[in-house]
Protein backbone atom coordinates (compact mmCIF):
# COMPACT_ATOMS: atom_id res chain seq x y z
CA UNK A 1 0.00 0.00 0.00
CA UNK A 2 2.67 2.49 1.00
CA UNK A 3 4.76 1.65 -2.06
CA UNK A 4 1.75 2.10 -4.32
CA UNK A 5 0.91 5.43 -2.71
CA UNK A 6 4.50 6.61 -3.09
CA UNK A 7 4.56 5.70 -6.75
CA UNK A 8 1.26 7.50 -7.37
CA UNK A 9 2.41 10.63 -5.56
CA UNK A 10 5.64 10.77 -7.56
CA UNK A 11 3.71 10.43 -10.78
CA UNK A 12 1.39 13.27 -9.76
CA UNK A 13 4.21 15.53 -8.66
CA UNK A 14 6.50 14.96 -11.61
CA UNK A 15 4.10 14.42 -14.46
CA UNK A 16 0.90 16.02 -13.22
CA UNK A 17 -0.52 12.59 -13.86
CA UNK A 18 -4.21 13.00 -13.19
CA UNK A 19 -4.91 9.31 -13.68
CA UNK A 20 -2.55 8.60 -10.82
CA UNK A 21 -4.44 11.14 -8.76
CA UNK A 22 -7.73 9.41 -9.56
CA UNK A 23 -6.20 6.18 -8.26
CA UNK A 24 -5.16 7.95 -5.09
CA UNK A 25 -8.68 9.32 -4.61
CA UNK A 26 -10.06 5.82 -5.07
CA UNK A 27 -7.73 4.48 -2.41
CA UNK A 28 -8.67 7.04 0.23
CA UNK A 29 -12.15 8.25 -0.66
CA UNK A 30 -14.00 5.96 1.75
CA UNK A 31 -11.86 6.87 4.74
CA UNK A 32 -11.96 10.56 3.97
CA UNK A 33 -15.69 10.48 3.39
CA UNK A 34 -16.18 8.52 6.59
CA UNK A 35 -14.27 11.09 8.64
CA UNK A 36 -16.15 13.96 6.98
CA UNK A 37 -19.46 12.24 7.48
CA UNK A 38 -18.87 11.42 11.15
CA UNK A 39 -17.61 14.95 11.74
CA UNK A 40 -20.46 16.79 10.04
CA UNK A 41 -23.20 14.23 10.54
CA UNK A 42 -24.57 15.19 7.16
CA UNK A 43 -23.97 13.40 3.90
CA UNK A 44 -24.18 16.48 1.69
CA UNK A 45 -21.71 18.39 3.77
CA UNK A 46 -19.56 15.31 4.06
CA UNK A 47 -19.37 15.00 0.32
CA UNK A 48 -18.47 18.65 0.02
CA UNK A 49 -15.75 18.40 2.69
CA UNK A 50 -14.36 15.16 1.30
CA UNK A 51 -14.12 16.51 -2.25
CA UNK A 52 -12.57 19.71 -0.99
CA UNK A 53 -10.00 17.65 0.94
CA UNK A 54 -8.82 15.96 -2.24
CA UNK A 55 -8.76 19.18 -4.23
CA UNK A 56 -6.62 20.81 -1.57
CA UNK A 57 -4.38 17.79 -1.40
CA UNK A 58 -3.88 18.03 -5.16
CA UNK A 59 -3.16 21.75 -5.07
CA UNK A 60 -0.75 21.44 -2.15
CA UNK A 61 0.93 18.16 -2.91
CA UNK A 62 4.30 19.90 -3.20
CA UNK A 63 4.14 20.61 0.52
CA UNK A 64 3.58 16.96 1.41
CA UNK A 65 6.70 15.43 2.93
CA UNK A 66 7.12 11.95 1.46
CA UNK A 67 8.89 10.73 4.57
CA UNK A 68 5.64 11.01 6.47
CA UNK A 69 2.52 8.94 6.16
CA UNK A 70 0.27 10.19 3.39
CA UNK A 71 -2.92 9.33 5.27
CA UNK A 72 -1.80 11.50 8.19
CA UNK A 73 -1.36 14.47 5.89
CA UNK A 74 -4.62 13.85 4.04
CA UNK A 75 -6.74 13.25 7.15
CA UNK A 76 -5.34 16.41 8.62
CA UNK A 77 -6.70 18.39 5.70
CA UNK A 78 -10.07 16.71 6.16
CA UNK A 79 -10.36 17.21 9.91
CA UNK A 80 -9.23 20.84 9.63
CA UNK A 81 -11.83 21.52 6.96
CA UNK A 82 -14.55 19.89 9.03
CA UNK A 83 -13.60 21.62 12.27
CA UNK A 84 -13.59 24.96 10.43
CA UNK A 85 -16.98 24.20 8.96
CA UNK A 86 -18.38 23.25 12.36
CA UNK A 87 -16.96 26.39 13.92
CA UNK A 88 -18.61 28.59 11.35
CA UNK A 89 -21.98 27.15 12.15
CA UNK A 90 -21.21 26.82 15.83
CA UNK A 91 -24.65 27.55 17.24
CA UNK A 92 -26.28 24.56 15.63
CA UNK A 93 -23.87 21.79 16.29
CA UNK A 94 -25.34 21.18 19.68
CA UNK A 95 -28.88 22.45 19.07
CA UNK A 96 -29.28 20.66 15.77
CA UNK A 97 -27.26 17.65 16.69
CA UNK A 98 -30.29 15.47 16.69
CA UNK A 99 -31.40 16.65 13.30
CA UNK A 100 -27.88 16.43 11.89
CA UNK A 101 -27.33 13.05 13.35
CA UNK A 102 -30.21 11.43 11.56
CA UNK A 103 -30.59 13.46 8.42
CA UNK A 104 -27.49 12.34 6.62
CA UNK A 105 -27.28 8.81 7.82
CA UNK A 106 -30.65 7.78 6.55
CA UNK A 107 -29.69 8.00 2.91
CA UNK A 108 -26.38 6.27 3.23
CA UNK A 109 -27.20 3.61 5.71
CA UNK A 110 -30.14 2.67 3.55
CA UNK A 111 -27.82 2.16 0.64
CA UNK A 112 -25.27 0.34 2.76
CA UNK A 113 -27.83 -1.85 4.47
CA UNK A 114 -29.87 -2.65 1.39
CA UNK A 115 -28.17 -5.98 0.90
CA UNK A 116 -28.92 -7.17 4.39
CA UNK A 117 -32.05 -8.86 5.67
CA UNK A 118 -34.94 -6.52 6.51
CA UNK A 119 -34.86 -7.14 10.28
CA UNK A 120 -31.14 -6.68 10.53
CA UNK A 121 -31.50 -3.54 8.49
CA UNK A 122 -33.89 -1.94 10.96
CA UNK A 123 -31.73 -2.68 13.96
CA UNK A 124 -28.61 -1.49 12.21
CA UNK A 125 -30.32 1.69 11.08
CA UNK A 126 -31.65 2.55 14.50
CA UNK A 127 -28.40 1.82 16.26
CA UNK A 128 -26.38 3.69 13.73
CA UNK A 129 -28.54 6.75 13.78
CA UNK A 130 -28.46 6.81 17.51
CA UNK A 131 -24.70 6.39 17.81
CA UNK A 132 -24.08 8.99 15.12
CA UNK A 133 -26.44 11.40 16.88
CA UNK A 134 -24.52 10.96 20.11
CA UNK A 135 -21.22 11.51 18.32
CA UNK A 136 -22.68 14.72 16.89
CA UNK A 137 -23.28 16.02 20.41
CA UNK A 138 -19.56 16.00 21.14
CA UNK A 139 -17.61 19.24 20.75
CA UNK A 140 -15.57 19.13 17.50
CA UNK A 141 -12.21 18.49 19.17
CA UNK A 142 -13.49 15.56 21.20
CA UNK A 143 -15.44 14.36 18.21
CA UNK A 144 -12.46 14.27 15.86
CA UNK A 145 -10.33 12.43 18.41
CA UNK A 146 -13.05 9.83 19.02
CA UNK A 147 -13.69 9.31 15.30
CA UNK A 148 -10.02 8.86 14.48
CA UNK A 149 -9.50 6.55 17.44
CA UNK A 150 -12.54 4.33 17.27
CA UNK A 151 -13.95 4.57 13.78
CA UNK A 152 -10.71 4.86 11.84
CA UNK A 153 -8.88 2.81 14.47
CA UNK A 154 -5.74 4.96 14.46
CA UNK A 155 -3.05 4.98 17.17
CA UNK A 156 -2.78 8.01 19.50
CA UNK A 157 0.53 9.01 17.93
CA UNK A 158 -0.95 9.34 14.46
CA UNK A 159 -4.01 11.14 15.80
CA UNK A 160 -1.76 13.63 17.52
CA UNK A 161 -0.02 14.29 14.18
CA UNK A 162 -3.31 14.62 12.32
CA UNK A 163 -4.79 17.03 14.85
CA UNK A 164 -1.46 18.72 15.50
CA UNK A 165 -1.90 18.34 19.25
CA UNK A 166 0.36 16.80 21.89
CA UNK A 167 -0.43 13.14 22.59
CA UNK A 168 -1.56 13.97 26.12
CA UNK A 169 -4.08 16.49 24.82
CA UNK A 170 -5.42 13.89 22.40
CA UNK A 171 -5.79 11.46 25.28
CA UNK A 172 -7.70 14.06 27.28
CA UNK A 173 -10.02 14.68 24.34
CA UNK A 174 -10.61 10.97 24.00
CA UNK A 175 -11.30 10.62 27.74
CA UNK A 176 -13.80 13.48 27.67
CA UNK A 177 -15.46 12.13 24.55
CA UNK A 178 -15.61 8.65 25.99
CA UNK A 179 -17.15 9.92 29.23
CA UNK A 180 -19.78 11.92 27.36
CA UNK A 181 -20.66 8.93 25.19
CA UNK A 182 -20.77 6.66 28.21
CA UNK A 183 -23.40 8.83 29.84
CA UNK A 184 -25.50 8.97 26.71
CA UNK A 185 -25.16 5.40 25.50
CA UNK A 186 -25.29 3.51 28.80
CA UNK A 187 -29.03 2.89 28.63
CA UNK A 188 -28.88 1.13 25.29
Amino acid sequence: MDAVVKRLIRAIKKEEDQDAFAELVDLYKDKVFQIAYRMTGNSYEAQDMAQESFLRAYANLESYDEKRKFSTWLFRITTNLCIDRLRKKKPDYSLDAELQGTEGLTGYSQVAASEKLPEEQVVTMEMQEWVQREISYLPPKHRSAIILRYIEGLPIKQISEILDLPANTVKTHIHRGREALRKRLKDA
Binding site: R7, K14, E15, E16, Q18, F21, A22, V25, D26, K29, D30, V32, F33, Q34, Y37, S43, Q47, A50, Q51, F54, L55, Y58, A59, Y108, S109, A112, A113, T124, M127, Q128, V131, Q132, I135, I146, Y150, I151, G153, I156, K171, I174, H175, R178, E179, L181, R182, R184, L185, K186, A188
Partner: protein, 212 residues
Protein backbone atom coordinates in the same frame (compact mmCIF):
# COMPACT_ATOMS: atom_id res chain seq x y z
CA UNK B 1 -19.51 6.79 38.44
CA UNK B 2 -16.10 5.74 39.64
CA UNK B 3 -15.82 5.86 43.42
CA UNK B 4 -13.17 8.58 43.13
CA UNK B 5 -11.32 10.67 40.58
CA UNK B 6 -8.22 8.53 40.84
CA UNK B 7 -10.10 5.49 39.59
CA UNK B 8 -11.77 7.39 36.79
CA UNK B 9 -8.31 8.30 35.52
CA UNK B 10 -7.28 4.68 35.97
CA UNK B 11 -10.22 3.47 33.90
CA UNK B 12 -9.18 5.62 30.96
CA UNK B 13 -5.56 4.70 31.34
CA UNK B 14 -6.59 1.09 31.16
CA UNK B 15 -8.73 1.65 28.05
CA UNK B 16 -5.80 3.38 26.37
CA UNK B 17 -3.69 0.31 27.10
CA UNK B 18 -1.18 2.30 29.06
CA UNK B 19 -0.96 0.39 32.31
CA UNK B 20 2.04 -1.55 33.41
CA UNK B 21 1.57 -5.04 34.82
CA UNK B 22 1.45 -4.03 38.49
CA UNK B 23 -1.04 -1.23 37.89
CA UNK B 24 -3.26 -3.60 35.97
CA UNK B 25 -3.32 -6.13 38.78
CA UNK B 26 -4.26 -3.45 41.25
CA UNK B 27 -6.92 -2.14 38.87
CA UNK B 28 -8.50 -5.59 38.41
CA UNK B 29 -8.56 -6.12 42.14
CA UNK B 30 -10.35 -2.84 42.60
CA UNK B 31 -12.94 -3.65 39.92
CA UNK B 32 -13.68 -6.92 41.72
CA UNK B 33 -14.23 -5.08 44.98
CA UNK B 34 -15.93 -1.88 43.84
CA UNK B 35 -19.35 -2.00 42.21
CA UNK B 36 -19.31 1.67 41.17
CA UNK B 37 -16.06 1.36 39.27
CA UNK B 38 -17.08 -1.97 37.75
CA UNK B 39 -20.29 -0.37 36.44
CA UNK B 40 -18.43 2.64 35.14
CA UNK B 41 -15.99 0.36 33.36
CA UNK B 42 -18.79 -1.65 31.77
CA UNK B 43 -20.51 1.50 30.53
CA UNK B 44 -17.31 2.82 29.01
CA UNK B 45 -16.64 -0.46 27.27
CA UNK B 46 -20.14 -0.46 25.91
CA UNK B 47 -19.88 3.10 24.56
CA UNK B 48 -16.60 2.28 22.86
CA UNK B 49 -18.03 -0.91 21.43
CA UNK B 50 -21.05 0.90 20.03
CA UNK B 51 -18.93 3.56 18.36
CA UNK B 52 -16.57 0.94 16.97
CA UNK B 53 -19.40 -1.13 15.62
CA UNK B 54 -21.02 1.71 13.73
CA UNK B 55 -20.70 0.45 10.22
CA UNK B 56 -18.27 1.92 7.82
CA UNK B 57 -19.78 4.30 5.38
CA UNK B 58 -18.55 4.40 1.84
CA UNK B 59 -18.09 7.41 -0.38
CA UNK B 60 -21.08 7.85 -2.70
CA UNK B 61 -21.13 6.59 -6.30
CA UNK B 62 -19.21 8.75 -8.69
CA UNK B 63 -17.19 10.43 -5.97
CA UNK B 64 -13.84 10.12 -7.75
CA UNK B 65 -15.31 11.43 -11.01
CA UNK B 66 -16.72 14.49 -9.23
CA UNK B 67 -13.31 15.24 -7.74
CA UNK B 68 -11.59 14.78 -11.09
CA UNK B 69 -14.08 17.09 -12.77
CA UNK B 70 -13.16 19.82 -10.35
CA UNK B 71 -9.39 19.55 -10.81
CA UNK B 72 -7.69 22.47 -12.53
CA UNK B 73 -7.22 21.97 -16.26
CA UNK B 74 -3.83 20.54 -16.95
CA UNK B 75 -1.33 22.48 -18.98
CA UNK B 76 -0.83 20.07 -21.84
CA UNK B 77 2.42 21.39 -23.21
CA UNK B 78 4.14 21.46 -19.89
CA UNK B 79 2.95 17.97 -19.31
CA UNK B 80 4.38 16.85 -22.63
CA UNK B 81 7.68 18.53 -21.97
CA UNK B 82 7.98 16.93 -18.58
CA UNK B 83 7.13 13.61 -20.09
CA UNK B 84 9.70 14.10 -22.82
CA UNK B 85 12.38 14.81 -20.30
CA UNK B 86 11.58 11.75 -18.27
CA UNK B 87 11.13 9.28 -21.04
CA UNK B 88 13.63 10.19 -23.76
CA UNK B 89 14.16 6.56 -24.66
CA UNK B 90 10.47 5.88 -24.97
CA UNK B 91 10.02 8.94 -27.11
CA UNK B 92 12.92 7.90 -29.27
CA UNK B 93 11.51 4.40 -29.58
CA UNK B 94 8.06 5.72 -30.39
CA UNK B 95 9.39 8.15 -32.95
CA UNK B 96 11.56 5.51 -34.48
CA UNK B 97 8.61 3.27 -35.13
CA UNK B 98 6.53 6.22 -36.22
CA UNK B 99 9.16 7.21 -38.72
CA UNK B 100 9.62 3.67 -39.94
CA UNK B 101 5.95 3.32 -40.65
CA UNK B 102 5.47 6.74 -42.12
CA UNK B 103 8.70 6.70 -44.11
CA UNK B 104 9.83 10.04 -42.81
CA UNK B 105 13.23 10.73 -41.45
CA UNK B 106 14.21 12.38 -38.26
CA UNK B 107 17.17 13.91 -36.57
CA UNK B 108 17.50 14.00 -32.85
CA UNK B 109 19.62 16.55 -31.16
CA UNK B 110 19.91 16.61 -27.44
CA UNK B 111 20.69 20.16 -26.57
CA UNK B 112 21.07 20.88 -22.87
CA UNK B 113 17.82 19.29 -21.86
CA UNK B 114 15.71 20.88 -24.57
CA UNK B 115 15.41 18.45 -27.40
CA UNK B 116 15.61 19.88 -30.84
CA UNK B 117 13.47 17.54 -32.84
CA UNK B 118 13.17 17.43 -36.55
CA UNK B 119 10.79 15.16 -38.33
CA UNK B 120 10.87 15.35 -42.07
CA UNK B 121 13.77 15.31 -44.39
CA UNK B 122 17.44 14.62 -43.91
CA UNK B 123 18.23 17.31 -46.41
CA UNK B 124 18.18 20.01 -43.78
CA UNK B 125 21.09 21.60 -42.01
CA UNK B 126 20.95 21.41 -38.26
CA UNK B 127 22.81 23.91 -36.17
CA UNK B 128 22.86 22.28 -32.77
CA UNK B 129 24.45 25.13 -30.94
CA UNK B 130 21.95 27.72 -31.96
CA UNK B 131 19.00 25.37 -32.17
CA UNK B 132 18.56 26.18 -35.83
CA UNK B 133 17.18 24.10 -38.65
CA UNK B 134 17.96 25.36 -42.09
CA UNK B 135 16.48 24.25 -45.35
CA UNK B 136 19.34 25.37 -47.59
CA UNK B 137 18.84 27.22 -50.79
CA UNK B 138 18.23 24.86 -53.66
CA UNK B 139 17.21 21.97 -51.37
CA UNK B 140 13.76 20.47 -51.66
CA UNK B 141 12.15 18.82 -48.65
CA UNK B 142 9.66 16.30 -49.95
CA UNK B 143 6.57 16.29 -47.80
CA UNK B 144 6.02 17.78 -44.37
CA UNK B 145 8.58 19.10 -41.96
CA UNK B 146 8.10 19.21 -38.19
CA UNK B 147 10.51 21.06 -35.98
CA UNK B 148 10.27 21.18 -32.23
CA UNK B 149 12.25 23.50 -29.96
CA UNK B 150 14.13 25.15 -32.76
CA UNK B 151 14.21 28.03 -35.19
CA UNK B 152 13.61 27.19 -38.81
CA UNK B 153 14.93 29.08 -41.76
CA UNK B 154 13.60 28.11 -45.12
CA UNK B 155 15.81 29.16 -47.97
CA UNK B 156 14.96 26.19 -50.09
CA UNK B 157 11.63 24.49 -50.61
CA UNK B 158 9.22 22.37 -48.61
CA UNK B 159 6.62 20.58 -50.69
CA UNK B 160 4.38 19.81 -47.74
CA UNK B 161 3.46 21.61 -44.53
CA UNK B 162 5.88 23.20 -42.14
CA UNK B 163 4.99 22.83 -38.51
CA UNK B 164 7.02 24.58 -35.86
CA UNK B 165 6.49 23.68 -32.25
CA UNK B 166 7.99 25.79 -29.52
CA UNK B 167 10.05 27.75 -31.98
CA UNK B 168 9.80 30.15 -34.83
CA UNK B 169 10.08 30.01 -38.57
CA UNK B 170 11.64 32.33 -41.00
CA UNK B 171 10.86 32.09 -44.64
CA UNK B 172 13.56 33.63 -46.76
CA UNK B 173 12.41 35.55 -49.79
CA UNK B 174 13.77 32.81 -52.02
CA UNK B 175 12.33 30.03 -49.89
CA UNK B 176 9.03 28.34 -50.53
CA UNK B 177 6.64 26.23 -48.53
CA UNK B 178 3.94 24.70 -50.71
CA UNK B 179 1.70 23.64 -47.84
CA UNK B 180 0.68 25.50 -44.72
CA UNK B 181 2.99 26.99 -42.17
CA UNK B 182 1.80 26.41 -38.64
CA UNK B 183 3.20 27.35 -35.28
CA UNK B 184 0.74 25.63 -33.03
CA UNK B 185 0.77 23.40 -30.02
CA UNK B 186 -2.02 21.23 -31.32
CA UNK B 187 0.35 19.80 -33.88
CA UNK B 188 2.33 18.38 -31.05
CA UNK B 189 -0.67 16.59 -29.77
CA UNK B 190 -1.43 15.44 -33.25
CA UNK B 191 1.99 13.88 -33.65
CA UNK B 192 1.76 12.48 -30.20
CA UNK B 193 -1.62 11.01 -30.87
CA UNK B 194 -0.45 9.28 -34.02
CA UNK B 195 2.83 8.21 -32.55
CA UNK B 196 1.07 6.67 -29.61
CA UNK B 197 -1.46 4.95 -31.79
CA UNK B 198 1.07 3.47 -34.12
CA UNK B 199 3.43 2.39 -31.40
CA UNK B 200 1.03 1.49 -28.67
CA UNK B 201 2.65 -1.91 -28.19
CA UNK B 202 6.13 -0.58 -27.79
CA UNK B 203 4.81 2.21 -25.64
CA UNK B 204 2.89 0.16 -23.14
CA UNK B 205 5.68 -2.36 -22.86
CA UNK B 206 8.10 0.43 -22.09
CA UNK B 207 5.83 2.06 -19.58
CA UNK B 208 5.24 -1.10 -17.66
CA UNK B 209 8.92 -1.67 -17.42
CA UNK B 210 9.40 1.85 -16.29
CA UNK B 211 6.98 1.49 -13.42
CA UNK B 212 8.59 -1.51 -11.87
Amino acid sequence: MACNKKYETQLHKYLDGEMIESERTEFYNHLDACEECAAHYKELKKAVMLVQSSSHIEAPEGFTESVMDRLPVKKKRKHWKKWMRQHPILIAASLFVFLMTSSLLSVWVDQSGEELTVIGSQDVKIDRENGMVIVPEGEIVEGDLFVKNGRVEVEGEITGDLTVINGEQYLASAGNVSGEIEEVDQALEWIWYHTKRITSDVFSFGEEKNNE
